[in-house]
């Protein structure tokens, strides 16, 4: 046994000991071909997947290099099966290539080349693939439609033969845009190192090997800034998709604040406004809106309204199914996914990678916390007993209702008061799932409430007042889970949530992670009813953050009084 940092396990996971002397070197080498799965305090976990190996191959990493990295940094002998599997995965890459027809670059089709006739034959007879292959024009070559490029790549990945896509991208309408060195308020502005690295990793100097992928950064770490960095690198018209009108306006505000783009070149495309400009920011909701279940998604036409050179998918983990489908047809355009929590409760992470692109950057939350780029957060789970008069209704309720009974425990009100009392003067968000409960809380605590039914104008006013410090607290429903920028909020109190949703927990914490002046400290409280199913769900919810290195303190409610 030596003090090398890697422990390579037979199930293709790799544990990395952060205290080992060669940790940093190993991490950089490993990041090229393995995905960071979790990063608690002492031991990080990476996973090798076929996709991660194929992405590494696409980036020019050699299979011997991968095997060498594992061997040289491994604390114990690397299982032979791992090396064999890596070679097997890598051996499948490059056997299929998507290219333009060199004799006719402007053709409305692309070519799919197979390395040998047998593979071509297998594709031609594949149930999923055959319908997507327009013509077979040679023993190893197929003609494919531009619109099927994504679907074919997706199907090939599922079939275990990833295509090397070197057909390049549509350049889109040119757009002259640069980042400012000073914000409109006069503050100095420049991309941070990790943001710059993410931009470089994505753009890859404009080559066909870059231009599509996902950047994973913690909430508050400046994903929007990375997006703007990419826009300035691509210098092309850009469609930005995000989760809510509030987020749309934040994007516009940030673009105006940190780039030199003229206001008239930025458009909002939402339920209220349909303004298509060189940079257009739209919501997923409007794109997937339709008059009835049988009707067409008319707003998806936005994708064709301009010759977009870049599409940014903000909070890509929330990408709705129709957008997935249309993204499959947009493979000629550069695509950037942004997220803090690439955890899809529907398990479609692989589809994100297949259609948007591979993970291009992933910085552990605790790394940025140590560097001061996000606030230090103290997470606390507060357990409140269920009152005697509710125990019997709880006991007799169906499982789903049990969760609600526990979540709406009226004794949580006093706990929230106690928590706020412990953090005087700290802007607080009280976040919950059940509107009835939130209404009670808002009333009891005399705090404004924002839910899905709150008009956008009112929301904007309340958010602005909160940002300005005029409101010390807000009660918000899940509409504030994502992409809401409230920089000064430093206290979040979660009173109920969507069962065991890990990404919701992380996103809610993310609302208070923007760096703060002074101690740069935030507090996240999750109030749960003790000895109920809510406590069990809370444990599941905390998993993602625990895996990012956050440690929950657990206290009883009476300890706060």
């Amino acid at each position: 046994m030596n003090d090398n940092p890697l422990i390579v396990q037979g199930d293709l996971t790799i544990l990395v000991d952060l205290s080992a002397p060669r940790y940093a070197e190993a991490r950089d080498a490993l990041a090229r071909f393995a995905e960071l799965v979790k990063s608690p305090e002492h031991i990080h976990t990476y996973r090798i997947t076929p996709l991660s190996i194929w992405n590494a191959c696409a980036a020019g990493v050699d299979v011997d290099d991968i095997a060498g990295t594992l061997t040289s940094f491994s604390r114990f002998a690397v299982p032979v099966s791992i090396t064999n599997q890596v070679r097997d995965f890598a051996g499948r890459f490059g056997r299929l290539r998507v290219v333009r027809d060199e004799d006719n670059p402007a053709a409305d089709y692309l070519l799919l080349h197979a390395s040998d006739p047998h593979l071509a034959e297998e594709l031609a007879h594949g149930r999923q693939l055959a319908p997507l292959l327009a013509d077979r024009i040679g023993p190893t070559t197929f003609r494919i439609r531009h619109g099927d490029r994504g679907r074919i790549k997706q199907a090939l990945i599922k079939a275990g033969y990833p295509a090397e896509d070197v057909a390049g991208y549509t350049e889109g309408e040119s757009l002259d845009v640069s980042l400012r060195t000073e914000t409109t308020a006069g503050a100095e502005f420049a991309l941070r190192d990790y943001q710059l690295q993410a931009v470089h990793a994505f753009y890859a100097l404009g080559s066909a090997r870059g231009g599509s992928g996902v950047v994973v950064l913690p909430c508050g770490a400046g994903k929007t800034v990375v997006g703007m960095g990419v826009i300035t690198a691509v210098q092309s018209s850009t469609l930005i998709l995000t989760t809510s009108v509030t987020a749309v306006r934040q994007w516009i505000r940030e673009l105006l604040d940190k780039t030199d783009i003229a206001p008239e070149n930025i458009g909002e495309y939402s339920a209220g406004t349909k303004d298509v400009r060189p940079i257009t920011v739209a919501t997923y909701q409007i794109l997937t809106h339709r008059a009835s279940k049988e009707a067409e998604f008319t707003h998806l036409a936005l994708f064709d309204e301009r010759n977009w050179g870049l599409i940014i998918y903000d909070e890509v983990h929330l990408l709705p199914a129709p957008v997935f489908q249309i993204t499959a047809t947009l493979q000629a355009r550069r695509r950037l996914g942004l997220t803090a929590t690439l955890v899809r409760e529907d398990g479609r992470e692989d589809d994100v990678f297949a259609l948007i692109g591979p993970k291009k950057a992933d910085v552990p939350w605790k790394v940025l916390e140590r560097q001061g780029w996000i606030a230090t957060a103290v997470c606390t789970e507060v357990r409140v007993a269920l009152a005697d008069d509710l125990r019997m209704p709880y006991a007799l309720a169906e499982t789903r209702n049990k969760f609600r009974v526990a979540s709406e425990n009226p004794d949580k009100v006093q706990v929230i008061r106690d928590i706020i009392a412990r953090h005087p003067g700290e802007p607080a968000l009280i976040i919950g799932m059940y509107v009835d409960q939130l209404e009670v809380l808002a009333t009891e605590m005399s705090v404004p409430l924002i839910t899905g039914t709150t008009p956008q104008a009112k929301r904007d006013v309340l958010y602005d007042q909160f940002r300005a410090g005029a409101l010390p607290a807000l009660v918000v429903s899940k509409v504030a889970n994502f992409a809401i920028d409230l920089p000064d909020a430093s206290l979040a109190i979660q009173v109920s949530g969507t069962f065991g949703s890990r990404q919701e927990e992380a996103q809610r914490l993310g609302r208070i992670l923007r760096p703060k002046a002074g101690a740069n400290q935030a507090h996240f409280y999750s109030v749960v009813t003790a000895d109920t199913v809510e406590q069990e769900f809370a444990l599941k919810r905390q998993l993602f953050l625990c895996e990012q290195g956050y440690e929950y303190q657990i206290v009883d409610a009476h300890a706060l009084a």
């Binding site: 199930d11 544990l15 000991d17 305090e41 031991i43 604390r75 895996e547 440690e551 929950y552």
Partner: protein, 695 residues
């Protein structure tokens, strides 16, 4: 002999016919030629002419077929028989013991009848008990089978050897002692050549025909007594004779050198037996472990679940541990009365006894001491009762097959002296055992002592020839002590050196067991790798840490066996530990001891919360008496009084559900004029009986 009972002097002279053939032609002859009947010439391919020219076989007039003449029939038979046993190789080969044993059994089957085997065995083993090939083979393959011949000085000694190896001494007394002397000389020469000697070379060394005749008769006697073996040399199909190769190797082997200390690169030193017993007993204390009624083994499914909690030794050490560790642990628990078998629902179950529960509550050190102390205190000097099956608490783990030993014999002292060589150093196990059995074997000195009250060892029947067995007996004794008493109880740390050899070194526990020290610290010398408990409830092993692994397995779910992510702490696993009697402090304490980093607070809090939520209830079987009306209920109450408890207007419970109480209750009711019909219990309620009462 089936094939070799021939005129060997004649065969030796005929061998020049075989010399005329190249190896490829020889191979075809052995494959195709029959000693009787005709064979199509085509079957011999390009070699047919050479074969015909050699004179071994003859053409038919039309040359379509070959056949063997009467004169050559014996030669062909001998050649074909030798061709079936290619025992000799120019280049030494590595063969497993199993391969060697099978080769010998095949040879014996091919060349000896059952009667011949019985005759040789009867004379060699000095016993008339039934013997077969398997019985005789270990003796034939042991060096003394031939070394006694080589060492036989003078006619009497040679005749005695002949008598005990299936040769009639009378045959040689009538003037043929020269054959025995030739046999001895030949054996002495063959000892030097484990790869065998070509018969052709032996013939060439002899100038006179009478010498060849003597050689042929000596070969015949050697083959008949299994001192010699005949076969083809693999490479060129040359007919050879030789000693059994393993015997020749043994006779020429240089004296074993004392084992030299080595450096090891990996080690393992956990008291696996004790940890296995702990794990099984903890499981049984929570829920009785069902045993199979036929053989008392743990049910496969339960065994698999328990095996997942056992410590997994490193792959290189796996051979030292039995496959059925759960059953061995069960047996150990039963023998020490830490567990007992109780019938539940008519099926045997392993349950913890009061003393077992007390043993479980001890620290690991104290638990181990409870196992080691009785062994250390044992007065046993020589494990001589071979029929004694309970070796759980004796100093030795296996018995030797003696019914008499000299008073001076003290194998315990000899064993202790031998093992103390491994104090503070790692010794290669193979070399250690080899040296101990060859150069440092306390049984050897006793071999030639005359039988008597304080004389030689006396074996039980079936173990008649001590000289054949002293080596294997002492190796077995040492090896079993090493695995069962030292390695199993943490008395020896095993290791792997750079050459891939298994090594061992005594620990404090081992020294204590052998009486070399007066106390021990179980944890001393347990070099453990780092263990980290993560806030997401994973337990990561950054190196091998078997002691921690054994401890944590009792309240964690195993997800891996090699260093890495080995365990996950779950509510279910913690509750199972609570059910087995663990307290919060035990669990947190074990985690704290194992982990090199602080235990995350959320993990501590959750474990405490889970365990605090534990409540206990009592499940008891009762008899229910259902009455048709209140009048019957009143009668029952008046007859049974306080013996029943009314749990509904027409239902009574008999708290004592034993068969005896039930019988008494029915008798009383009958005496009171209330007769009970036994209602059939629904399947899911089996074990709870409902009785219907009628007046």
């Amino acid at each position: 002999m089936k094939h070799f009972d021939v005129d060997w002097p004649g065969i030796l002279l005929e061998l020049e016919l075989w010399d005329a053939l190249r190896p490829t032609a020889r191979r075809v002859v052995l494959q195709e030629l029959k000693s009787h009947g005709y064979v199509q010439s085509l079957r011999f391919g390009e070699h047919v002419s050479a074969i015909a020219r050699s004179g071994i076989a003859m053409y038919e007039p039309d040359k379509h077929r070959l056949w063997v003449s009467d004169e050559r029939r014996s030669l062909v038979n001998v050649l074909r028989a030798m061709g079936r046993h290619q025992l000799f190789h120019e280049e030494p080969r590595v063969e497993t013991d199993q391969e060697v044993r099978i080769a010998l059994l095949h040879y014996m089957e091919d060349h000896f009848t059952g009667d011949e085997i019985q005759r040789i065995a009867s004379s060699a083993l000095r016993s008339n008990v039934y013997a077969n090939r398997q019985t005789l083979a270990p003796f034939v393959a042991f060096s003394s089978w031939v070394s006694d011949l080589i060492n036989a000085e003078g006619d009497d000694a040679l005749l005695a050897w002949a008598d005990t190896h299936g040769l009639s001494s009378a045959q040689f007394l009538v003037g043929e002692m020269a054959v025995l002397h030739e046999l001895r000389e030949l054996a002495t020469d063959l000892k030097e050549t484990p790869q065998g000697v070509a018969l052709r070379d032996l013939v060439d060394e002899r100038e006179h025909p009478e010498d060849i005749t003597l050689l042929g008769r000596a070969i015949h006697a050697g083959l008949a007594s299994m001192a010699f073996f005949a076969g083809m040399r693999t490479e060129d199909l040359e007919p050879c004779i030789g000693l059994w190769p393993a015997v020749a190797h043994e006779l020429t082997r240089a004296p074993a050198a004392p084992p030299a200390p080595v450096q090891v690169r990996e080690t393992f030193g956990l008291a696996v037996q004790m940890e296995d017993m702990t794990t099984l007993l903890a499981a049984a204390a929570a829920t009785p472990v069902r045993l199979r009624a036929n053989d008392g083994a743990v049910f496969a499914r339960t065994r698999a679940e328990i095996e997942r909690r056992l410590v997994v030794p490193p792959v290189w050490a796996a051979a030292l541990f039995e496959d059925n560790r759960v059953d061995i642990a069960a047996q150990s628990l039963l023998t020490r009365r830490f567990a007992h078998v109780r019938g539940i629902d008519g099926n045997p179950h392993l349950c913890a006894t009061q003393s077992g529960v007390q043993w479980l509550a001890l620290s690991a050190h104290a638990r181990l001491a409870a196992l080691v102390d009785p062994l250390r205190r044992s007065k046993e000097r020589n494990p001589v009762n071979m029929y004694e099956t309970d070796r759980v608490t004796g100093f030795f783990s296996r018995s030797l097959p003696f019914y008499q030993t000299p008073k001076s014999l003290n194998l315990r002292a000899e064993l202790t002296r031998t093992f103390l060589q491994a104090r503070d150093v790692f010794l290669p196990t193979g070399e250690f055992l080899d040296h101990a059995s060859r150069q440092d074997n306390p049984l050897v000195a006793l071999v030639d002592l005359p039988p008597g009250k304080d004389g030689a060892l006396m074996f039980y029947s079936g173990h008649a020839d001590l000289r054949n067995e002293t080596r294997t007996l002492w190796i077995d004794t040492l090896a079993h002590f090493l695995t069962d008493r030292l390695v199993g109880l943490g008395g020896a740390r095993i290791g792997l050196d750079d050459a891939g050899r298994l090594c061992f070194s005594l620990t404090e526990v081992g020294l204590y067991l052998l009486g070399a020290v007066d106390q021990f610290d179980y944890n001393a010398g347990l070099a453990e790798g780092d263990v980290v408990v993560q806030p997401n409830f994973e337990v990561v092993f950054l190196g091998a840490a078997p002691a921690a692994e054994a401890e944590l397995a009792r309240f964690c779910e195993r997800v891996g066996v090699a260093p890495g992510h080995v365990f996950r702490i779950t509510r279910t696993s913690v509750l199972a530990a609570a059910e087995a009697g663990s307290a919060v402090g035990d669990v947190i304490g074990a985690l704290t001891r194992a982990s090199s980093k602080a235990i995350p607070k959320n993990v501590q809090h959750e474990i405490a919360g889970w365990m605090a939520a534990v409540r206990r209830a009592t499940l008891r079987r009762v008899e229910l008496i259902e009455c048709a009306d209140t009048d019957i209920a009143a009668r029952i109450l008046s007859v049974l009084g306080a013996g029943v408890r009314q749990i509904a207007p027409l239902v009574f419970a008999l708290p004592d559900g034993t068969p005896a109480a039930r019988t008494t209750m029915i008798r009383k009711l009958r005496a009171g004029g209330v007769f009970v019909d036994e209602a059939e219990a629904p399947r899911e309620a089996q074990g709870r009986t409902r009785l219907r009462a009628d007046e």
